[in-house]
Amino acid sequence: MKRFKILRNVLLATIASSSLLNIAHAEDALKMELTANQVIKNVEGKTVYTPVRTAPAGTVIQYKANYTNTVNKDINDLMVTLPIPANMTFTGDAMPASAQASTDGKNYADMPLMRKVDGKMVKIPYSEYRTLRWNIKLLPAKKSAAVALNTTVN
């Protein structure tokens, strides 16, 4: 009788966990992969991107987010947000260039960000940019795209 109870509990736990896993898979219509590459200009003047895990100060690093629509339905109003980490400064290079920027992660505006100083509108330095955001109106079914930004290690 005791063994039967144990077996029953194990079966129930297995069914519950598999159900939860199925739900999790069903919700993942969008898959996103982030990569970091060092930006190097070779002798021919061409920009080369190499995977990086360790970098000294001054290194230019590109964060690239590849996103994929994994379902057979279109994705609308996709908003991809890519932070600029502490100890890194945005270089001003964003791909696509239609990105909006924020200095607080809440309020976004088209680049370059501006503010009023002594009654005059001046550009906010890139060092104060903390987050970039892209608004993609449509990502067709089973299609992929990417956004990227360049930073310099402080």
Binding site: A29, M32, L34, T54, Y67, K73, N87
Partner: protein, 96 residues
Amino acid sequence: MKSNTFNYSLLAVGIAAVMGLSTGAIAGEQSTAGSASITNVASATYFVGGQEQKKVDSNPVVISITETVKFSLVATNIDGDNDPCCQIRRTKLGRF
């Protein structure tokens, strides 16, 4: 009859504690002298069929920043009489 005094619950708690400590050590920032780790995660919100979906996060990307100190010593004091650092000229009578 000898009773089984081995406490399985205690063993389980012990193993969990050790695993927790080791995991915590791995999760903590590897902070050796002169290096720091920077972690970045992208996120996205989206709609499918007019329905807002759960926010999606990317995989975390960790970059170790190595702090290299660059400096050079340039000899500007050729004759040894003046102190270029402090812009103080020495004369026979003293400083001015």
